[in-house]
Symmetry: C2
DNA sequence: GAGTGGTCTAGACCACTGC
DNA sequence: CAGTGGTCTAGACCACTCG
């Protein structure tokens, strides 16, 4: 008689139950738990497919399908002949994963992040809603300027959960040369999985205009982003003002 | 002795040759050819996996992997228990596939497209470059207004390849109630596969401001889109001006 | 019940990496 | 060379849809 493998890990085995999910998805969430718990850290290799298959008592094909989905979601990166690695924002190729800004002229431009301010605060109603915390809970606010070819293009105001990013200060930010998300990853163990952006056109207020070197009232792109870590937990809310004189937001639809 | 199935369709069988591709990808491109040639039209069902496996003399798993990729690229839609269907822009759920505009307040709003003008023209240098045609070749220009809840939100200027959309006129546009892309599909047999958008913030000029009911100089989102049909052939270039007072461009990053 | 896509397995071989 | 991911196969059974 056949053993119904898909039920091995099920709490509720009823096929029509809402908690039902195929075996490969259960394996996937087990592996994701490993990422979440820090068993395998960003940039590290995870066990081979055959090892995982043995550990979880399933066939290699099932592990493979689980990892397929994780690779599609950018949680891991496969490298033929080498192994499967936990995705990391420290990889230079990941720099533009969340920053969809390209020069109008094309080509590559060197970029630099200039932290301006960083202070502790209590969440107001808006920040609390975005970060799914209570009003008054501690947050950290960062203001920074992003330059391309030494010219200012983006000014960001970033709101972070205070409990998650405790200890973040201007000194840390100024020391860090790579991307913010790689800082979050290495220093705080917080990996951003996905993000939502809401884009509008606004007129530049005086302080932003001065920072970006444009006249007050110039049209700017307002890009609001909520970034989520494991478990769809929002940990960052930022609002960026993009000067689109020489750059534009690039998006691929399919 | 084993028969090397992956080479069955190969022109060049050398494994390191640049033209090498795995069997499932060759099957995929054969099926895509069927879509391209109109053997199966948008909305129609394609043969079952086992039928295709038999036709192409491969295992069902290989066909499955081919179709997996096509489903991931939104070329087809799988429906368990029914079959696999050619994706179509006529499906109401596909309406917002290329239009990433959502109300700030959330919820659903009825939308309506109001064609304003439509004329034949010769491609200028910019349109020619975007549509990858020669300067002076025929194009069709459409201007239209997009309303949500009976209020104007987007004004579009659309440049179409004249050879592909011959016969398009204001009368046809006004008769058509569904989305433009479903018109292109049904009337001209042109299916949009993917698109690129470049977004910037601009100040409203007088005519656009009047159409959108905002003051001249107000910040607007400028969304330039190039849409591609099979073979990455660009057939549409459009520039939309979005009023983001009550709506915003929504983008999901991962 | 027949037919579809969806899941799972077991085993083979290929392609790439690094020792 | 051994070990990894990548491809392909063949066969089983599950879940869903429809007549």
């Amino acid at each position: 008689m056949r053993f119904y493998a898909r039920m091995r890990f099920m709490v509720q085995a009823s096929p029509t139950s809402p908690t039902f999910s195929p075996l490969y998805r259960q394996i996937k969430s087990l592996i994701v738990q490993g990422l979440e718990s820090g068993e395998w850290r960003p940039g590290e290799i995870i066990p081979s497919e055959s090892e995982l298959a043995e550990r979880f008592n399933v066939s290699q094909g099932t592990v493979r399908k689980a990892i397929d989905e994780m690779a599609a979601e950018n949680l891991v990166v496969r490298k033929q002949g080498k192994g499967t690695f936990v995705a990391t924002h420290s990889d230079p190729r990941a720099f533009f994963r969340f920053l969809r800004l390209v020069p109008v002229a094309g080509g590559f431009e060197p970029s630099e992040s200039k932290p301006l301010e960083c202070w502790r605060a209590k969440a107001g109603p808006e920040a609390a809603r975005m970060l799914q915390i209570n009003i008054g809970e501690p947050i950290i606010v960062v203001r920074r300027l992003l330059q391309f070819s030494a010219k200012p293009v983006v000014v960001d105001e970033i709101y972070l959960r205070g409990d998650v990013f405790a200890g973040l200060g201007l000194d840390v930010l100024k020391d860090w040369q790579a991307s913010l998300y790689s800082l979050f990853e290495t220093r705080f163990g917080v990996r951003m999985i996905r993000a939502e952006e809401r884009i509008r056109a606004v007129a530049a207020d005086r302080p932003s205009a001065e920072l970006l070197g444009v006249t007050e009232g110039s049209p700017l792109l307002s890009v609001e982003r909520i970034s989520f870590t494991y478990g769809d937990k929002p940990v960052e809310w930022r609002r960026g003002l993009y000067c689109t004189a020489n750059h534009c937001y690039f998006n691929e639809l399919s």
